[in-house]
Symmetry: C2
Subunit: 255 residues, 2 copies
Protein backbone atom coordinates (compact mmCIF):
# COMPACT_ATOMS: atom_id res chain seq x y z
CA UNK A 1 0.00 0.00 0.00
CA UNK A 2 1.38 3.41 -0.95
CA UNK A 3 0.34 6.04 1.55
CA UNK A 4 1.05 9.70 0.84
CA UNK A 5 1.55 11.87 3.89
CA UNK A 6 0.28 15.36 3.19
CA UNK A 7 0.90 16.72 6.66
CA UNK A 8 4.62 17.29 7.33
CA UNK A 9 4.23 16.70 11.09
CA UNK A 10 2.50 13.36 10.49
CA UNK A 11 5.23 12.36 8.03
CA UNK A 12 7.94 13.21 10.58
CA UNK A 13 6.16 11.16 13.24
CA UNK A 14 5.92 8.22 10.84
CA UNK A 15 9.69 8.50 10.33
CA UNK A 16 10.20 8.61 14.09
CA UNK A 17 8.15 5.47 14.73
CA UNK A 18 9.81 3.63 11.88
CA UNK A 19 6.58 3.45 9.85
CA UNK A 20 7.99 5.56 7.01
CA UNK A 21 11.41 4.74 5.52
CA UNK A 22 10.98 5.77 1.86
CA UNK A 23 12.37 8.65 -0.19
CA UNK A 24 10.32 11.77 0.50
CA UNK A 25 9.78 13.08 -3.05
CA UNK A 26 6.05 13.54 -3.65
CA UNK A 27 5.19 13.52 0.05
CA UNK A 28 3.94 16.50 2.08
CA UNK A 29 3.46 18.33 -1.22
CA UNK A 30 4.10 22.06 -1.11
CA UNK A 31 6.30 21.86 1.98
CA UNK A 32 10.00 22.62 1.75
CA UNK A 33 12.26 19.59 2.08
CA UNK A 34 15.88 19.86 3.13
CA UNK A 35 19.23 18.14 2.86
CA UNK A 36 20.72 17.33 6.25
CA UNK A 37 24.27 17.81 7.51
CA UNK A 38 25.26 17.37 11.16
CA UNK A 39 28.83 18.14 12.27
CA UNK A 40 30.48 18.56 15.68
CA UNK A 41 30.91 22.16 16.90
CA UNK A 42 34.66 22.00 16.18
CA UNK A 43 33.85 21.92 12.43
CA UNK A 44 30.69 24.02 12.50
CA UNK A 45 32.27 27.42 11.84
CA UNK A 46 34.17 26.11 8.83
CA UNK A 47 31.07 24.41 7.46
CA UNK A 48 28.87 27.47 8.01
CA UNK A 49 31.51 29.53 6.22
CA UNK A 50 31.60 26.96 3.41
CA UNK A 51 27.83 27.39 2.97
CA UNK A 52 28.15 31.17 3.05
CA UNK A 53 30.83 31.04 0.33
CA UNK A 54 28.92 28.50 -1.78
CA UNK A 55 25.27 29.55 -1.57
CA UNK A 56 24.23 27.81 -4.79
CA UNK A 57 25.06 24.23 -3.75
CA UNK A 58 24.51 25.02 -0.03
CA UNK A 59 21.55 27.39 0.44
CA UNK A 60 20.86 27.41 4.17
CA UNK A 61 17.29 26.87 5.32
CA UNK A 62 18.17 26.74 9.01
CA UNK A 63 21.12 26.17 11.33
CA UNK A 64 20.26 24.81 14.78
CA UNK A 65 21.90 25.92 18.01
CA UNK A 66 24.64 23.62 19.30
CA UNK A 67 23.12 20.41 20.66
CA UNK A 68 19.57 21.35 19.69
CA UNK A 69 17.43 18.67 18.02
CA UNK A 70 14.21 20.63 17.43
CA UNK A 71 14.10 22.40 14.07
CA UNK A 72 12.51 25.87 14.34
CA UNK A 73 10.77 25.59 10.98
CA UNK A 74 9.27 22.26 12.10
CA UNK A 75 7.99 22.71 15.68
CA UNK A 76 7.90 19.49 17.71
CA UNK A 77 10.44 17.81 15.43
CA UNK A 78 13.47 15.77 16.46
CA UNK A 79 16.23 15.90 13.88
CA UNK A 80 17.81 12.72 15.29
CA UNK A 81 14.75 10.60 14.45
CA UNK A 82 12.51 12.42 11.94
CA UNK A 83 14.38 11.68 8.72
CA UNK A 84 13.53 8.39 6.93
CA UNK A 85 17.19 7.36 6.80
CA UNK A 86 20.62 8.62 7.88
CA UNK A 87 24.19 8.08 6.76
CA UNK A 88 27.17 8.28 9.09
CA UNK A 89 30.57 9.21 7.68
CA UNK A 90 33.86 8.94 9.59
CA UNK A 91 37.10 10.30 8.13
CA UNK A 92 35.42 10.57 4.75
CA UNK A 93 34.15 6.98 4.67
CA UNK A 94 30.51 5.94 4.79
CA UNK A 95 30.44 3.64 7.81
CA UNK A 96 26.76 3.13 8.47
CA UNK A 97 23.22 3.73 7.24
CA UNK A 98 20.70 3.97 10.09
CA UNK A 99 17.01 4.60 10.73
CA UNK A 100 17.81 7.13 13.46
CA UNK A 101 20.86 8.70 15.09
CA UNK A 102 19.53 9.23 18.63
CA UNK A 103 22.06 6.74 20.03
CA UNK A 104 24.92 8.61 18.33
CA UNK A 105 23.83 12.07 19.40
CA UNK A 106 26.50 14.33 20.95
CA UNK A 107 25.79 17.55 22.85
CA UNK A 108 28.22 19.39 20.55
CA UNK A 109 26.39 18.48 17.32
CA UNK A 110 25.35 21.36 15.07
CA UNK A 111 22.64 20.67 12.50
CA UNK A 112 22.47 22.33 9.09
CA UNK A 113 19.41 22.14 6.83
CA UNK A 114 20.19 22.89 3.20
CA UNK A 115 17.66 23.61 0.46
CA UNK A 116 16.80 20.96 -2.12
CA UNK A 117 15.55 21.19 -5.68
CA UNK A 118 11.99 19.96 -5.10
CA UNK A 119 10.56 23.49 -4.68
CA UNK A 120 11.84 24.84 -7.98
CA UNK A 121 11.04 21.60 -9.79
CA UNK A 122 7.39 21.90 -8.78
CA UNK A 123 7.27 25.50 -10.03
CA UNK A 124 8.98 24.60 -13.32
CA UNK A 125 6.57 21.71 -13.90
CA UNK A 126 3.58 23.91 -13.05
CA UNK A 127 4.74 26.36 -15.72
CA UNK A 128 4.30 23.57 -18.29
CA UNK A 129 7.95 22.49 -18.52
CA UNK A 130 7.94 18.74 -17.85
CA UNK A 131 10.93 17.21 -16.02
CA UNK A 132 11.78 13.76 -17.33
CA UNK A 133 13.00 12.19 -14.08
CA UNK A 134 9.77 13.28 -12.36
CA UNK A 135 7.59 11.96 -15.20
CA UNK A 136 9.56 8.69 -15.19
CA UNK A 137 9.66 8.54 -11.37
CA UNK A 138 13.41 8.23 -11.23
CA UNK A 139 16.05 9.99 -9.15
CA UNK A 140 17.49 13.05 -10.84
CA UNK A 141 20.89 12.44 -12.50
CA UNK A 142 23.80 13.93 -10.52
CA UNK A 143 27.45 14.38 -11.47
CA UNK A 144 30.68 15.36 -9.78
CA UNK A 145 32.24 18.21 -11.74
CA UNK A 146 35.72 19.71 -11.96
CA UNK A 147 34.37 23.05 -10.67
CA UNK A 148 36.05 23.82 -7.34
CA UNK A 149 33.87 25.19 -4.58
CA UNK A 150 35.25 28.15 -2.66
CA UNK A 151 37.11 26.40 0.18
CA UNK A 152 36.52 27.27 3.85
CA UNK A 153 38.84 25.99 6.56
CA UNK A 154 39.06 22.23 6.26
CA UNK A 155 36.27 22.04 3.67
CA UNK A 156 37.26 21.90 0.03
CA UNK A 157 36.18 19.95 -3.03
CA UNK A 158 34.29 20.10 -6.28
CA UNK A 159 30.66 21.00 -6.88
CA UNK A 160 28.11 18.27 -7.56
CA UNK A 161 25.40 19.21 -10.05
CA UNK A 162 22.04 17.78 -11.02
CA UNK A 163 21.06 17.69 -14.71
CA UNK A 164 17.66 18.09 -16.32
CA UNK A 165 17.11 17.97 -20.09
CA UNK A 166 15.13 21.07 -21.11
CA UNK A 167 13.76 21.97 -24.54
CA UNK A 168 15.75 24.83 -26.12
CA UNK A 169 12.69 27.06 -26.21
CA UNK A 170 12.10 26.51 -22.46
CA UNK A 171 15.65 27.04 -21.14
CA UNK A 172 15.27 30.77 -20.51
CA UNK A 173 11.97 30.25 -18.68
CA UNK A 174 13.45 27.45 -16.57
CA UNK A 175 16.29 29.82 -15.61
CA UNK A 176 13.80 32.56 -14.74
CA UNK A 177 11.57 30.32 -12.63
CA UNK A 178 14.36 28.55 -10.73
CA UNK A 179 15.88 31.96 -10.04
CA UNK A 180 12.88 32.72 -7.84
CA UNK A 181 14.01 29.92 -5.49
CA UNK A 182 17.47 30.88 -4.23
CA UNK A 183 16.91 28.53 -1.25
CA UNK A 184 16.39 25.69 -3.73
CA UNK A 185 19.73 26.26 -5.55
CA UNK A 186 18.40 29.16 -7.70
CA UNK A 187 19.42 29.56 -11.33
CA UNK A 188 21.47 26.90 -13.17
CA UNK A 189 25.26 27.00 -12.84
CA UNK A 190 25.85 25.74 -16.41
CA UNK A 191 23.80 25.25 -19.60
CA UNK A 192 24.90 22.74 -22.29
CA UNK A 193 28.47 21.53 -22.90
CA UNK A 194 28.95 18.97 -20.10
CA UNK A 195 32.64 18.40 -20.93
CA UNK A 196 33.43 22.00 -19.95
CA UNK A 197 32.68 21.11 -16.33
CA UNK A 198 34.37 17.72 -16.42
CA UNK A 199 31.41 15.46 -17.20
CA UNK A 200 32.59 12.86 -19.72
CA UNK A 201 29.37 10.89 -20.21
CA UNK A 202 25.90 12.12 -19.26
CA UNK A 203 24.65 8.54 -19.41
CA UNK A 204 26.89 7.65 -16.44
CA UNK A 205 25.82 9.85 -13.53
CA UNK A 206 27.74 9.58 -10.24
CA UNK A 207 24.47 9.56 -8.27
CA UNK A 208 20.85 8.98 -9.27
CA UNK A 209 19.58 7.67 -12.61
CA UNK A 210 20.50 8.57 -16.20
CA UNK A 211 17.74 9.98 -18.39
CA UNK A 212 17.55 10.27 -22.18
CA UNK A 213 18.37 13.64 -23.77
CA UNK A 214 16.39 14.26 -26.97
CA UNK A 215 17.49 16.17 -30.05
CA UNK A 216 15.60 19.34 -29.22
CA UNK A 217 16.83 19.39 -25.61
CA UNK A 218 19.78 20.93 -23.83
CA UNK A 219 21.28 19.49 -20.63
CA UNK A 220 20.85 22.11 -17.91
CA UNK A 221 22.91 21.85 -14.71
CA UNK A 222 21.92 23.09 -11.27
CA UNK A 223 24.09 23.13 -8.16
CA UNK A 224 23.18 20.11 -6.04
CA UNK A 225 22.72 19.58 -2.31
CA UNK A 226 24.86 16.44 -2.48
CA UNK A 227 27.85 18.81 -2.75
CA UNK A 228 28.37 19.17 1.03
CA UNK A 229 28.39 15.35 1.43
CA UNK A 230 30.94 14.96 -1.34
CA UNK A 231 33.07 17.81 0.04
CA UNK A 232 32.96 16.30 3.55
CA UNK A 233 34.18 12.99 2.12
CA UNK A 234 36.92 14.72 0.12
CA UNK A 235 37.92 16.70 3.20
CA UNK A 236 38.07 13.51 5.33
CA UNK A 237 35.94 15.11 8.00
CA UNK A 238 36.31 13.10 11.25
CA UNK A 239 32.54 12.78 11.67
CA UNK A 240 29.39 13.91 9.93
CA UNK A 241 25.84 12.68 9.62
CA UNK A 242 23.66 13.26 6.56
CA UNK A 243 20.30 12.08 5.28
CA UNK A 244 20.28 8.96 3.09
CA UNK A 245 19.86 9.75 -0.63
CA UNK A 246 16.37 11.04 -1.42
CA UNK A 247 15.26 10.73 2.21
CA UNK A 248 14.99 14.39 3.15
CA UNK A 249 13.88 16.27 6.24
CA UNK A 250 10.40 17.74 5.62
CA UNK A 251 9.82 21.18 7.16
CA UNK A 252 6.57 23.02 7.89
CA UNK A 253 7.63 25.82 5.51
CA UNK A 254 5.53 26.35 2.42
CA UNK A 255 7.67 26.47 -0.73
CA UNK B 1 41.91 70.48 -0.61
CA UNK B 2 39.31 67.79 -1.26
CA UNK B 3 40.79 64.86 -3.15
CA UNK B 4 38.54 62.12 -4.46
CA UNK B 5 40.16 58.71 -4.75
CA UNK B 6 38.65 56.82 -7.68
CA UNK B 7 40.90 53.80 -7.39
CA UNK B 8 39.98 51.61 -4.41
CA UNK B 9 43.54 50.34 -4.00
CA UNK B 10 44.91 53.89 -3.87
CA UNK B 11 42.24 54.84 -1.34
CA UNK B 12 43.17 51.88 0.87
CA UNK B 13 46.85 52.80 0.68
CA UNK B 14 46.00 56.38 1.65
CA UNK B 15 44.16 54.98 4.69
CA UNK B 16 47.16 52.82 5.53
CA UNK B 17 49.63 55.71 5.41
CA UNK B 18 47.31 57.94 7.41
CA UNK B 19 46.77 60.34 4.49
CA UNK B 20 43.04 59.59 4.30
CA UNK B 21 40.90 59.65 7.46
CA UNK B 22 37.52 60.85 6.14
CA UNK B 23 34.17 59.12 5.65
CA UNK B 24 34.27 57.13 2.41
CA UNK B 25 30.91 58.12 0.86
CA UNK B 26 31.50 59.47 -2.63
CA UNK B 27 34.99 57.96 -2.92
CA UNK B 28 36.01 55.11 -5.23
CA UNK B 29 32.65 55.51 -6.97
CA UNK B 30 31.08 52.34 -8.26
CA UNK B 31 33.04 50.09 -5.89
CA UNK B 32 31.28 48.21 -3.13
CA UNK B 33 31.96 49.53 0.37
CA UNK B 34 31.51 47.40 3.45
CA UNK B 35 30.80 47.61 7.16
CA UNK B 36 33.47 45.97 9.25
CA UNK B 37 33.15 43.60 12.20
CA UNK B 38 36.10 41.74 13.72
CA UNK B 39 35.53 39.23 16.54
CA UNK B 40 37.73 36.55 18.15
CA UNK B 41 37.24 32.99 16.87
CA UNK B 42 35.39 32.04 20.08
CA UNK B 43 32.49 34.28 18.98
CA UNK B 44 32.84 33.82 15.22
CA UNK B 45 30.43 30.90 14.78
CA UNK B 46 27.68 32.71 16.70
CA UNK B 47 28.23 35.90 14.73
CA UNK B 48 28.29 34.09 11.38
CA UNK B 49 25.06 32.37 12.39
CA UNK B 50 23.60 35.74 13.42
CA UNK B 51 24.37 37.07 9.92
CA UNK B 52 22.87 33.97 8.31
CA UNK B 53 19.68 34.42 10.33
CA UNK B 54 19.49 38.17 9.72
CA UNK B 55 20.52 38.66 6.10
CA UNK B 56 18.79 42.03 5.68
CA UNK B 57 20.77 43.95 8.31
CA UNK B 58 23.85 41.70 7.89
CA UNK B 59 24.35 40.75 4.22
CA UNK B 60 27.78 39.13 4.09
CA UNK B 61 30.20 40.33 1.43
CA UNK B 62 33.12 38.25 2.70
CA UNK B 63 34.32 36.40 5.80
CA UNK B 64 38.08 36.05 6.14
CA UNK B 65 39.86 32.94 7.38
CA UNK B 66 40.90 33.04 11.04
CA UNK B 67 43.82 35.43 11.52
CA UNK B 68 43.86 36.54 7.87
CA UNK B 69 44.17 40.28 7.19
CA UNK B 70 44.03 40.28 3.37
CA UNK B 71 40.53 40.63 1.98
CA UNK B 72 39.97 38.41 -1.09
CA UNK B 73 37.80 40.98 -2.86
CA UNK B 74 40.55 43.56 -2.32
CA UNK B 75 43.88 41.91 -3.21
CA UNK B 76 46.87 43.44 -1.45
CA UNK B 77 44.70 44.92 1.30
CA UNK B 78 45.33 44.83 5.05
CA UNK B 79 42.11 44.95 7.03
CA UNK B 80 43.99 46.12 10.15
CA UNK B 81 45.14 49.36 8.47
CA UNK B 82 43.06 50.05 5.34
CA UNK B 83 39.94 51.53 6.92
CA UNK B 84 39.97 55.30 7.62
CA UNK B 85 38.99 54.78 11.26
CA UNK B 86 38.26 51.94 13.71
CA UNK B 87 36.28 51.56 16.90
CA UNK B 88 37.16 49.10 19.64
CA UNK B 89 34.42 47.79 21.93
CA UNK B 90 35.02 45.79 25.11
CA UNK B 91 32.15 44.22 27.02
CA UNK B 92 29.73 46.34 25.05
CA UNK B 93 31.46 49.66 25.74
CA UNK B 94 33.22 51.81 23.15
CA UNK B 95 36.72 52.11 24.62
CA UNK B 96 38.74 53.57 21.80
CA UNK B 97 38.69 55.08 18.30
CA UNK B 98 41.91 54.43 16.37
CA UNK B 99 43.49 55.02 12.96
CA UNK B 100 44.58 51.38 12.71
CA UNK B 101 44.31 48.17 14.74
CA UNK B 102 47.59 46.50 13.75
CA UNK B 103 48.90 46.77 17.34
CA UNK B 104 45.74 45.07 18.66
CA UNK B 105 45.70 42.26 16.13
CA UNK B 106 45.25 38.73 17.49
CA UNK B 107 45.86 35.53 15.50
CA UNK B 108 42.36 34.33 16.39
CA UNK B 109 40.58 37.36 14.88
CA UNK B 110 37.90 36.64 12.27
CA UNK B 111 36.89 39.51 9.98
CA UNK B 112 33.39 39.99 8.59
CA UNK B 113 32.58 42.43 5.79
CA UNK B 114 28.91 43.37 5.65
CA UNK B 115 27.17 45.16 2.78
CA UNK B 116 26.28 48.84 3.07
CA UNK B 117 23.58 50.93 1.45
CA UNK B 118 25.77 52.94 -0.92
CA UNK B 119 25.26 50.54 -3.87
CA UNK B 120 21.49 50.65 -3.84
CA UNK B 121 21.45 54.39 -3.11
CA UNK B 122 23.45 55.05 -6.27
CA UNK B 123 21.04 52.94 -8.33
CA UNK B 124 17.98 54.64 -6.81
CA UNK B 125 19.43 58.09 -7.48
CA UNK B 126 20.33 57.10 -11.05
CA UNK B 127 16.70 56.09 -11.61
CA UNK B 128 15.73 59.71 -10.89
CA UNK B 129 14.68 59.27 -7.26
CA UNK B 130 16.69 61.86 -5.30
CA UNK B 131 17.83 60.97 -1.77
CA UNK B 132 17.73 63.97 0.52
CA UNK B 133 20.70 63.10 2.74
CA UNK B 134 22.88 62.64 -0.35
CA UNK B 135 21.69 65.93 -1.90
CA UNK B 136 22.27 67.71 1.42
CA UNK B 137 25.57 65.86 2.03
CA UNK B 138 24.51 64.58 5.45
CA UNK B 139 24.71 61.17 7.06
CA UNK B 140 21.60 59.08 6.56
CA UNK B 141 19.24 59.09 9.59
CA UNK B 142 19.37 55.83 11.57
CA UNK B 143 17.12 54.57 14.36
CA UNK B 144 17.07 51.72 16.83
CA UNK B 145 13.76 49.88 16.50
CA UNK B 146 11.79 47.50 18.70
CA UNK B 147 12.09 44.79 16.03
CA UNK B 148 14.05 41.88 17.50
CA UNK B 149 16.65 40.27 15.27
CA UNK B 150 16.69 36.46 15.21
CA UNK B 151 19.14 35.69 18.03
CA UNK B 152 22.16 33.41 17.54
CA UNK B 153 24.16 32.15 20.50
CA UNK B 154 25.28 35.15 22.53
CA UNK B 155 24.10 37.66 19.90
CA UNK B 156 20.69 39.21 20.38
CA UNK B 157 19.20 42.68 20.06
CA UNK B 158 17.02 44.91 17.97
CA UNK B 159 17.40 45.89 14.34
CA UNK B 160 18.74 49.33 13.46
CA UNK B 161 17.18 50.90 10.35
CA UNK B 162 18.06 53.78 8.06
CA UNK B 163 15.28 56.07 6.84
CA UNK B 164 14.94 57.86 3.53
CA UNK B 165 11.93 60.07 2.65
CA UNK B 166 10.55 58.94 -0.71
CA UNK B 167 7.71 60.48 -2.76
CA UNK B 168 4.59 58.29 -2.65
CA UNK B 169 4.70 57.77 -6.42
CA UNK B 170 8.34 56.55 -6.19
CA UNK B 171 8.04 54.12 -3.27
CA UNK B 172 7.29 51.04 -5.37
CA UNK B 173 10.19 51.78 -7.71
CA UNK B 174 12.57 52.34 -4.79
CA UNK B 175 11.49 48.93 -3.43
CA UNK B 176 12.05 47.33 -6.82
CA UNK B 177 15.47 48.87 -7.38
CA UNK B 178 16.81 48.21 -3.87
CA UNK B 179 15.58 44.62 -4.18
CA UNK B 180 18.21 44.09 -6.87
CA UNK B 181 20.90 44.65 -4.22
CA UNK B 182 20.43 41.94 -1.58
CA UNK B 183 24.07 42.48 -0.52
CA UNK B 184 23.22 46.14 0.15
CA UNK B 185 20.30 45.30 2.50
CA UNK B 186 17.79 44.66 -0.34
CA UNK B 187 14.17 45.78 -0.11
CA UNK B 188 12.93 47.99 2.76
CA UNK B 189 11.87 46.29 6.00
CA UNK B 190 9.09 48.84 6.70
CA UNK B 191 7.25 51.60 4.81
CA UNK B 192 5.53 54.47 6.68
CA UNK B 193 4.24 54.37 10.27
CA UNK B 194 7.46 54.76 12.29
CA UNK B 195 5.69 54.19 15.65
CA UNK B 196 4.86 50.62 14.63
CA UNK B 197 8.57 49.77 14.87
CA UNK B 198 9.20 51.81 18.01
CA UNK B 199 10.44 55.08 16.51
CA UNK B 200 8.86 57.92 18.53
CA UNK B 201 10.33 60.91 16.70
CA UNK B 202 11.84 60.82 13.22
CA UNK B 203 13.52 64.15 13.93
CA UNK B 204 15.64 62.49 16.65
CA UNK B 205 17.66 59.74 14.99
CA UNK B 206 19.91 57.56 17.15
CA UNK B 207 22.72 57.84 14.61
CA UNK B 208 23.34 60.18 11.66
CA UNK B 209 21.42 63.35 10.83
CA UNK B 210 17.70 64.12 10.73
CA UNK B 211 16.22 65.18 7.40
CA UNK B 212 12.93 66.92 6.63
CA UNK B 213 9.99 64.77 5.47
CA UNK B 214 7.70 66.66 3.07
CA UNK B 215 3.94 66.31 2.69
CA UNK B 216 4.09 64.16 -0.44
CA UNK B 217 6.73 61.85 1.03
CA UNK B 218 6.65 58.60 3.01
CA UNK B 219 9.43 57.56 5.40
CA UNK B 220 10.90 54.32 4.05
CA UNK B 221 13.04 52.14 6.33
CA UNK B 222 15.85 49.83 5.28
CA UNK B 223 17.75 47.39 7.50
CA UNK B 224 21.03 49.02 8.48
CA UNK B 225 24.59 47.75 8.80
CA UNK B 226 24.91 49.45 12.19
CA UNK B 227 22.74 46.61 13.53
CA UNK B 228 25.67 44.24 14.26
CA UNK B 229 27.47 46.99 16.22
CA UNK B 230 24.36 47.69 18.28
CA UNK B 231 23.72 43.99 18.85
CA UNK B 232 27.33 43.44 19.93
CA UNK B 233 26.96 46.25 22.45
CA UNK B 234 23.64 44.87 23.70
CA UNK B 235 25.18 41.41 23.94
CA UNK B 236 28.17 42.77 25.94
CA UNK B 237 30.58 41.00 23.62
CA UNK B 238 34.00 40.79 25.33
CA UNK B 239 35.79 42.27 22.31
CA UNK B 240 34.96 43.46 18.84
CA UNK B 241 36.39 45.93 16.38
CA UNK B 242 34.31 47.85 13.84
CA UNK B 243 34.82 50.68 11.39
CA UNK B 244 34.15 54.21 12.67
CA UNK B 245 30.80 55.62 11.46
CA UNK B 246 30.84 56.35 7.73
CA UNK B 247 34.43 55.18 7.37
CA UNK B 248 33.92 51.99 5.43
CA UNK B 249 36.24 49.41 3.91
CA UNK B 250 36.35 49.90 0.12
CA UNK B 251 36.54 46.69 -1.92
CA UNK B 252 37.57 46.13 -5.53
CA UNK B 253 34.10 44.75 -6.32
CA UNK B 254 31.96 46.68 -8.74
CA UNK B 255 28.47 47.35 -7.36
Amino acid sequence: MHVTHDDPGALRHACRSGAFTLPTAGHAGGHIQANLMIVPQADAFDFLLFCQRNPKPCPLIEVLAQGSREVQCAPGSDIATDVPGYRVYRHGELVEERADVAALWQPDFVTFLIGCSFSFEAAVAEAGIPLRHVVQRRNVAMYRTNVACAPAGRFSGEMVVSMRPIKSRDVARAVEISGRFPQAHGTPVHVGNPRAIGIADLMKPDYGDAVEIRDDEVPVFWACGVTPQWVSQRSRLPLCITHAPGKMFVTDLKG
